[in-house]
Each structure stands twice: as C-alpha cells, then as structure tokens.
Amino acid sequence: MNSLTASAAIATGRVQLANVRQSALVTARLRALWIMLLFIFATLTACVRIAQLGLFERTPERASLAEALLPSRGEITDRNGVALARAFASYSLWFNPKALGEGGAPLVKTAEEVARALVGIFPDADYADLVARLKAGKPCYLRRRVLPEDANKVFALGEPALEFPREEQRFYPQGSLAAHVLGFVDEAGKGHVGMEQVLEPRLLDPVHRGTPTALSIDARAQGALEDELGRGMMETNAKGAAGLILDADSGEVIALASLPSFNPNRSDLAYNDLVFNRVSNQVYELGSTFKPITIASAIDAGVVTDLAVRYPATPLQIGRFTIHDSHNFGASLNVPEALIHSSNVVTAQVADKLGPVALKRTMEQLGMNERPTIELPARGFPLWPRGGGEGGKGDWARLTTMTVSYGHGIAVTPLHLAAAYAALVNGGIWRPATLYKVDPAHLPPGRRVFQASTSARLRQLLRMIVADGTGRKADAAGFRVGGKTGSAEKPGSGGYRKTSLIATFAAAFPMDKPRYVVIVMLDEPQATQQTSGQRTAAWNAAPIVGRLVPRIGPMLGVVPDAHHDVDISDLSPLVSSGEGE
C-alpha cells in the first residue's frame, strides 16, 4: 500500500515536474515572443516616427504667424499708402482701486490732487468728473486713448492705481484729417458716418482685412485744403466751410473737407452736429456758379452761337418778379461779359431762349435731380424745382427756368457742383464721384453731357473769369486757374436774407488741360478787414482757391508754367473792363 502509494506519488511528482518544465518553457517562449513583438513594435514605431518627422512634418504653426499679425480691423490708407485709419494697440488710462491691495485708500495722494495733476496733463479733462470717479472707488476708464508721452507723465505721478492697459482700438494717425471721409468707430467696434461704415464688411473680413484699403484721398492735398479752408473760415468768421478737390477725368475725390470738423480719435465725443457733412449731405442754393452750366447748355444746344451778341442788362420784369444784377453793368452785355461780371439778367435771358426742356435735361444729365453719387452714407437730396403738370414732373415754368439758370430755386450739394464742373471742363463727360482709387485704365463709363467743343469754349470763359473777372483773387500764378464765383443769399423766413450768404468758388486747373476741380464754399461769411469789408465769394472764397492751388498743384503733378495758358485771344476783344460781383 505504502510502496504503491509511494510509487504513485513519485510518478505523479515526475509528471508534475514534467508539466512544470513544460509550462515554464511555454511561458519563457511566450515571454520571448512578447519581447520580440515589443522590439519589433518599438523599432517600427521609431522607423515610422523618423519617417514621419523626416518626410511629412510641416513647419510648425505657420498659419498662426499671419493670424497674429492680422489686424482686428483693416487699415485704410490714402492713395499714396499713408495710413489714415489703423487698428492699433493704444494706451488707455484705467483706474484700478485695488492696485494697492484690498482695504485702505486706493490712491497715494488725495483724489483732488490726482485729478488736478491729470487735468494738468489732459487740459480738456473734466476736473469734477475725475474727482468723482476717483472717489467712487470703482474700477473704470479715466480716459480711452492716451499718448505715450502723456502716459509717461501719468506714470510719473507715482500712483499705482492708474494703469495703462494697451488695447486694440481704432486709431487715426492724422487726427481730424479727412474725418468726414473716414467717419469713426464706436466703442463697440462699429463704423459710423464715413468709409468706416461703408467698408465695414470688408474691414472685418478675415480674408481682406490683412491688406489695406486705399481711398482716392491724397492726405497732403487734404491737409492743405483743410488748412486753407480753416484759415478762410477764421478770416471771415464764417459758420462753416466745405471744400472738395475732384479729379476732373476719373471722378476720384482727392480731398473732401467739411469744417468745423470732429476728432475721430475721440469716438466718445464724435456724436455731435459736427459729424454732419456739408459737402455731400447739405444742399445749398449755390448761386452764380450755375451760370457757366446754363451758358454751356445754351452753346451746346446752338442757342448761343455768336458770343458777341449783346443782351440788355437792365432789370428784367417777369410777371411780378424782377431779376436784378448786383451792380449796374450798363445797357447791355454779351455772354463773356455776363459771365465775367456775373450778370443774372443776361443769364436769365439766355436760359429763356434755351427753354425749360433743354436746361432741365442738362441739369438731369448732370445728376442734379438725385442724391450725389458717392460711397458716403450721408447724401443729401437736392431741392429740385417743381415743374408744371402732374406731380410737378412737367416742364419748369418760365420764371423757374430763369432762376435756375443763375443757381436759385435749386439747391444741390457742393459735390453735385463739383461733378458738374468736371463735366464742364473735361471735354463734356460726366462721371460719378468716387472715394475709391480708380485705375486710369479702367475708368467708370461716364455719360456725355456737353460736346467737346462746348467744353473747350467753357474752359476759355472760365479762365477769363479768373483772369479778368470776379475770380481774380484765385489766379494763382502759372496754374491757369479758371472758375466762377457764386454768392447766394440764404433763404430765411420771409424771403432771402441779405447778410447771410453762401459764398462759393468753383474752379478747375490747369485750364489748358484740366486735371482737378476745386470747390470752396463758405457758409455765412462776414465782412471783415481781411475781406476788405466784402462778403461775396470774390473776396473770401476765391482767395482760398488762390492760396490752395499753388500748395496742391505741384504735389498733384501740375507744374506751374508762366509761359503757358489757354488761348483766349478770340474772346478778349469781346470784353470791356469793368467790375462785377
């Protein structure tokens, strides 16, 4: 039993041993297999990674670079690439009452002292408001936009609670220059008034906002225009002024100014009356500046064929209404004389001969019956004289035709006038005004309003007005300026007001090949010493053009030349000297 048991036990022990050996072998082999698999896997991984790194790895985060430099809002430049509006991280002045720790006074000095120092740095700041904000102990902006040097001065006050976070804001490096063209961006980042509003989708589009948008404006010409307009406005104590420089051939607006202006950098202050654009939004009766248009229409229609024909210049009675001239110019005047002296009577007679249909058609072709064509959102609708018939759409009455001929009874924006003068001098093609830079090879299609010969004749006449007539003060030496004055009384309650004038000078230069149209307008200029006690355009608006043209001409590629001028020898004998408006 025992031996049997023992042998059985030995036998099972042997079997067990064999089993153990077997299983150990299997385990070892399995482990070896695992390790081999691990080796193969690791090697493969390494190979794949090497291949991946060597072959497919891209330069890291290339896209992020462009993204980091993409402005939050696209840049707007002038036609020469000068930045007019830019997204810019500028300093703000932030009051952080917890900068000195919780509890205790937020400021080192008293609030009054700090406020006084701040007013010393920012003279336009409100002392009482600053004291109130500093005392309130709530974190708030004290000022949105701070110049680095002012920030340094504030820093020197040694108040840790006054912080200067740099925030991406809309910045206009040129200050109030071309403010009405650009508009402004409010604190919510929305564009208002000018091209900021018009271009908003493009300026915010990630695809386009990396590249600056070029406007047709020339910053230098714009600066000169605003400067001269401002000077003219100051000299005449005028309420406001408007000015426009238009490329006569392409319709590009080179400069557009409406004064008084606003500062788009202070968007918090920009909501006010100054935002109103006198050039494109306000309509005026522009007076005598319409006379060349009437004469051109008459020459074009064949009504005026002989410029030597004389018309009576005595006051003209039409029904109950009498058309006067500003002075007595003698018994009769011919057309060149009528323009030089700015005679309402003769122009009215020419218009009478021309008839309402032709004059109205010319005015319509010049776009005087619709809002001005420009990209700006604020565009004024003209006061278009009512005709007879249904809805006032019929022909004008005889008196209406006559008053429209010298710019009364029709109110348009200075922009309308500029586009009309461009057509008058550029060979007769009317083109819409634009604020975008136009490629000279792809000019927008215009419409022919006057024949080229009419335009050539008008160039002579306009040059004569400046050389011998009411526009003499605009005669910048060598620039062959031509133009027409216009001094219209403003309508008030109970008829026209004798002392409230709109003085306009519509000019173009150089008259032998007109490149630019310049419109200068003063709103209610006063008679001052600088204007020799006069308030008409010949004494206030014309001198502005006379000073402006020599400043902008060379920059815009017009070289002054004293030996070069329009040939007016065929018209000179028709004109006797005399004084006009």
Binding site: A46, L177, G223
Partner: protein, 255 residues
C-alpha cells in the same frame, strides 16, 4: 557557453533597443527644440512687427499733416515753389544762356583776388568728403587708378592752384588725395594700435572711435599737404556721405 551566448545575444538586443530608443529620443528632442526655437522666433517676429507698427504709427502721428503745418508756420516757413522755379524743357534752360541783345554792354567783371585762391578755399572741403567716401567704398579701383596716373598729383601750391582751374584737374586731385589718405590712414591705424596696447582694454572703445574719425579727418587733412595743422582743425570730422561713385569715376578722366 551556450547560455552565455544566448544571454549575450539578449543583452545585445536590449542594448540595440536602448540605442534605438536613445536615438529616437535624441531626434525627438532635437525636433522639439528646433520647433520651439521656430515658435519663439515667430513670436519675436510678431512682437517686432507690432513694435514696428507701433513706432511707425507714432512717427506718423507726430508728423501728421496738421503738425507739419504747425511746424512749418513756426519754424521753417517753406512755401510752395513758384512758376519761376520750374523749367519745362531744355529750351527754357538754354534761354538762360542767350546773350541779352546785340547792343548790350559786356557783363561787368569785378576785380578780385586770384581765382585759384578762392577755388582752393572753396573746393578742398567738398573733395575731401568725396575722397574719404571713395576711399572706403572702392579701394581696389582706386589703387589701379593710382598706378595709372601717378603724375597727376600736384607737387606744390602753384600746381594745386592751376589744378583747381578746371573740373578734370580737380577730380585728378581727388585721385592723389585718396592715395595720401590711405597712407595716412595706415599710419593712424598703427598709432591707434599702439595706444590700444598702452591703455589696455578700457581704452578700446575710445580708440576705435578715434580711429573712425581719423579715417575721415585723414582724408580731409591731406587735401592741404602744405598747410599747418591749425587750418584743418577748424573743420570738424564729418561722417562719410554715401556718394562715392562720381568721385571714383571722375578720377578716370584725369589728364
């Protein structure tokens, strides 16, 4: 023996694995290092571009049209050029040379000191600048030209005065001066070295600065070989102006 061979192979495998792993790690580290370097560089680029834009904007703001106008009103008083300042074509230019008329008196000529003296006083300063620049910019061309025209160098003051009489001769003078300036520059450099050795490291910057100045003043001084040192000391050393070409070219036309 068998076991040791087996173990040896295993160790070999492990070693190979470790080497592979190490290589992969090294590679991965290097790639990551390079990548973060690129990233840092990109960040630097972004920061610098922003800084550039910031400075650009600041300059534009400070120099905006209104500010320029104010400065012009107060400081400069520049006005737009008038018609008389433009010439439309060659014909207008030629019109200036036209004799006034058949019976006009001859132009009045004022008696004065020797022209050459005036020329000597007027021209050397200009020429020395050009010479100094030419010296820096075109050393090879200069040495060739010097060898070609060694006789062009004026020997004394009389010859000098004669040489200033026409443009070609003046430019020839440039040639000679350049050689002189080179010589003296070498001399000066030597003296600089000496001073450097003397005064040690602290004087290094000063020596370099004076060496730079000396290069230019040397060119200037050599215009007046016969003159005392006091005469040149009243003209301070100017920085070189970037207009080397005409001087280098002009010297070829020397007689």
């Amino acid at each position: 023996m068998m076991v040791s061979a087996h173990r040896f192979r295993s160790i070999g495998w492990i070693a190979l694995l470790l080497v592979c792993a190490a290589l992969v790690m090294v590679l991965a580290f290097r790639v990551n290092a390079l990548r973060s370097q690129v990233h840092r560089t990109e960040l630097q680029i972004v920061a610098l571009r922003k800084e550039k834009l910031y400075l650009e904007t600041e300059v534009e703001t400070r120099a905006n049209q209104q500010q320029l106008k104010l400065w012009n009103d107060v400081e400069f008083g520049y006005v737009a050029p008038t018609a008389g300042q433009y010439l439309a074509n060659e014909r207008q230019l030629a019109a200036f040379a036209k004799p006034d008329g058949p019976d006009t008196p001859a132009p009045i000529r004022v008696a004065s000191a020797d022209d050459a003296v005036a020329a000597e006083a007027a021209f050397p300063s200009v020429i020395s600048d050009l010479a100094a620049v030419a010296d820096i910019s075109a050393p090879v061309a200069r040495s060739d030209e010097d060898e070609d025209k060694p006789a062009a160098r004026p020997a004394d003051a009389a010859e000098r005065a004669k040489a200033t009489a026409n443009l070609g001769a003046r430019l020839a003078m440039v040639t000679s001066l350049k050689k002189d300036s080179k010589d003296s520059k070498d001399g000066k450099a030597k003296s600089d070295k000496a001073s450097l050795a003397k005064s040690g490291k602290t004087a290094k910057d000063d020596a370099e600065r004076s060496g730079k100045g000396a290069k230019l003043t040397a060119g200037k001084a050599d215009n007046k070989p016969g003159k005392p040192a006091a005469a040149k000391s009243d003209k301070p050393a100017k920085t070189a102006k970037p207009a080397p070409k005409p001087a280098a070219k002009g010297s070829k036309s020397a007689p």
